[in-house]
């Protein structure tokens, strides 16, 4: 018998070991392969939802209003932490509140989730510490703290939209999250592994709004100042391009700090006299009245079906044009009787009242417009005066846009474009005319009436020196739920068309329950003027400045010799003393604006010949003139003392 050598035994042993390994491998891989693969998968991977980055929201000029950013939530396992005192220092450095720090450094606790989210760079030292785990959270970074958030809306804790655009376009903005297997190491921490990432989340699309951020901020500031100075409960300003329907600004303010909704679309109000131009348009459209047709207005007091109607402007009779100009309740009721209830209802319905505008903002109110069969005996008169119906500010602006653009009711737009992350345009707004609500000549005539309202009617405080502005003021009593009309509580409003001949803006200013004054022409019209002045001075407030350059009022230089009464010698403006740093110059014109009935706005060119050039320019500006410097001649052209309308150009020689 051959006795195997030791090396042979070792070799055989190795062979047997190898065979055993192969057999075990075959068992593990082939016979029990599925079971082990499942177990390995459970240990090495875990299911996780990979959130898609939410799309950004831009304004109409491409400025980011809100975008996504990643924050982290800190989770601490005190038992794993080696140095709790150092952890405590780091937590204090990250501005974690002391109570949470005590909890997080309590060794008796197993796992603590800290409240709040932190920028990753602020807690980088913390997340590098053993025992501190971080969980990424997607958050929104807002570029503005202002009221534009009422339009944008907010996100809930789960990252879905709660209100505003975030809610209405949630499906577009949120993208597609994916449920994926994520590889993890022996300690359970996530690691990057090509085996784990089978699919990647699709980021949300970017949304561009029609809102112009500069104009929005102008409106918000004007509204805040007006509401504060008048001690009003709140208010709304809406600005729309009447030809495209683009909503350029939508500012809202409420004294109730809990109010975060977009009240310009959610809270309807009784429009009052701002509805009268539409009654006039309906009459003109049907040939039931002429602009200069006169009705009795009974010196400001008229009883109709047991109800006394009053006018602020007391006149025995007024033309339709003047009914609008002076906002005569009696006059409009008299004229409106020529329309049947059905005609009145259809006129208001066709203007979009009583139905949502379908702008993509949540909780939009339809307003209220009752059918004629639900009317009382005085409803027809109430409707003509803007009562017994309620409209949202956006509905009213949309209806006025029809007057501005020549008679077409346009679809309001707030979303300009939706673009995928790949750059594909998924949606782009197009101007859409819903229906024609009046003919172009009728719209033009009504616009002329609105110009008269601002020029010499109830809203003279909105008047601009350089541009024609049309508009209509409204003052309506306010209803409180369960109490009816409350004495002393009013809605003051003004809707302006700027410039009047070819409007680029329709501006609605509405103030709720102002306490120091309440007439729309007195308080809402000046706010409109403030908005327009700031928009004209802004670099980009969605105004076509080329068109505006051609839309200026015709400059009229009145001959002093023909103008009566004769004007005194021009006021000589002396140079301000050097110690007055502002350099402001105060002087009295030889006549006040109110005393010149025929052309109350004309004024004399001051004599600035004694002033340095800078002060001369300032003095001319303060006198209401525009200044152009000229290299030729001496002094001013026209010469000092000439009567000019405000806004007229005075050429000032640079020659000493």
């Amino acid at each position: 018998m051959v006795r195997p050598s030791r090396i042979t035994i070792v070799f055989l042993g190795l062979v047997l070991f190898a065979l055993a390994l192969i057999a075990q491998a075959a068992k593990v891989q082939i016979i029990e392969g599925r079971k082990w693969a499942l177990r390995a998968r459970t240990q090495q991977f875990r299911g996780a939802t990979l959130p898609a980055p939410r799309g950004a929201i831009f304004d109409g000029t491409g400025n980011i209003l809100v975008e996504s950013r990643q924050l982290v939530q800190l989770e601490i396992a005190p038992g794993e932490v080696r140095d709790l005192s150092q952890l405590s220092r780091l937590l204090r450095g990250a501005k974690v509140d002391s109570r949470s720090i005590r909890t997080a450094t309590d060794p008796r606790r197993k796992y603590v989730v800290l409240p709040g989210f932190y920028p990753p760079s602020d807690v980088a030292a913390l997340t590098a510490t053993r025992g501190v785990h971080s969980r990424p959270i997607m958050d929104r970074a807002y570029s503005t703290a202002g009221g534009i958030r009422r339009i944008i809306g907010r996100l809930g804790p789960d990252g879905s939209g709660l209100d505003g655009i975030e809610l209405s376009l949630d499906s577009v903005l949120r993208g597609d999250s994916v449920r994926a297997l994520v590889a993890r190491d022996s300690r359970g921490r996530t690691i990057e592994s090509p085996d784990g990432w089978k699919s990647v989340p699709r980021p949300g699309s970017d949304v561009t709004l029609t809102i112009n951020r500069s104009l929005q901020e102008i409106c918000e500031r004007a509204l805040a100042r007006a509401a504060d100075s008048l001690d009003a409960d709140g208010g709304d300003i809406v600005v729309m391009n009447p030809f495209t329907g683009d909503i350029l600004a939508m500012a809202s303010r409420r004294s109730n700090s809990l109010s975060s909704g977009n009240t310009a679309v959610t809270e309807p109000f009784e429009p009052g006299s701002t509805l009268k131009p539409f009654v006039a348009a309906a009459l003109l459209e049907r040939g039931l009245a002429q602009p200069d047709e006169i009705v009795d207005t009974y010196n400001g007091q008229f009883e109709w079906r047991g109800r006394v109607i009053n006018d602020l402007h007391k006149a025995p009779r007024l033309s339709l044009r003047d009914v609008i100009r002076y906002s005569s309740n009696i006059g409009i009721v008299q004229f409106a009787q020529r329309l049947s209830p059905r005609e009145k209802y259809e006129m208001l319905r066709d203007l979009g009242f009583g139905m949502a505008t379908a702008v993509p903002l949540p909780a939009e109110s339809e307003g209220k417009l009752r059918e004629p069969k639900q009317w009382s005996g005085t409803s027809a008169a109430s409707l003509a005066m803007g009562y017994e119906l309620s409209v949202t500010p956006l509905q009213l602006v949309t209806a006025y846009a029809a007057l501005a653009n020549g008679g077409e009711l346009v679809q309001p737009q707030i979303v300009k474009e939706i673009k995928s992350q790949a750059g594909d345009v998924l949606y782009r707004s197009q101007p859409h005319a819903i229906r024609r609500v009046m003919s172009e000549p009728v719209a033009r005539v009504v616009r002329e009436m609105l110009v008269a309202v601002v020029d010499s009617g109830t809203a003279m405080k909105a008047d601009l020196a350089t541009y024609m502005l049309g508009g209509k003021s409204g003052t309506a009593r306010r209803v409180v739920q369960g109490r009816g009309y409350v004495p002393g509580s009013y809605t003051a409003s003004f809707v302006g068309l700027f410039p009047a001949d070819k409007p680029q803006y329709v501006v609605l200013v509405k103030l709720d329950s102002p306490r120091r004054a309440y007439f729309g022409g007195e308080i809402a019209a000046p706010v409109t003027k403030v908005v327009l002045l700031a928009a004209l001075a802004a670099r980009n407030a969605a105004l076509n400045k080329g068109e505006l350059a051609n839309a200026e009022r015709v400059e009229g230089v009145l001959d002093t010799a023909r103008h009566s009464p004769p004007v005194d010698a021009p006021v000589r403006v002396e140079a301000a003393p050097a110690e007055i740093p502002t350099g402001s110059v105060t002087f009295d014109l030889p006549f006040s604006r109110k005393t010149v009935a025929a052309d109350k706005s004309v004024r004399a060119v001051p004599d600035v010949s004694a002033l340095p050039l800078r002060d001369a320019v300032r003095a001319l500006h303060q006198a209401g003139f525009r200044v152009r410097l000229s290299a030729q001649g001496r002094g001013t052209t026209p010469r000092a003392g000439a009567l000019l309308a405000p806004g007229s150009i005075v050429r000032l020689s640079q020659q000493p």
């Binding site: 950013r69 990643q70 990753p120 020196a465 327009l532 080329g546 350059a549 806004g647």
Partner: protein, 105 residues
């Protein structure tokens, strides 16, 4: 006979040694590869976290810049500290665009 026995034993040792070395080499290669993979995964994870952190900081800083340069923030400061104000519309002049022929359009 003895020579042959020594030759077989010597060759057998070499084979055993070679098998052992091969086994160790394969095992070391597998472990090295895995270790390298884990190290790479760790680096990638750190870089991804860093990128997310920088993106977050960028968004935060840009939002802060936009907020700080907004009218709402600047105008009160300009009015209070510099005495600036919104000009009247008569003080804003839009120039008419000249047509190529020299006249106004």
């Amino acid at each position: 006979m003895a020579k042959r026995g020594i030759g077989v034993r010597g060759r057998g040792r070499w084979i055993v040694a070679a098998v052992l070395v091969a086994f160790v080499a394969v095992a070391a290669a597998v472990i090295t590869r895995r270790s390298y993979g884990f190290a790479q995964a760790g680096e990638i994870k750190a870089l991804v976290a860093r990128r997310a952190s920088l993106e977050s900081d960028r968004a935060q800083l840009e939002a802060a810049i936009r907020e700080a340069s907004s009218r709402a923030r600047l105008m009160p400061v300009a009015e209070r500290r510099l005495g600036m104000r919104v000009p009247g519309e008569s003080q804003v002049i839009y120039l008419k665009r000249q047509s190529r022929s020299g006249g106004t359009p």
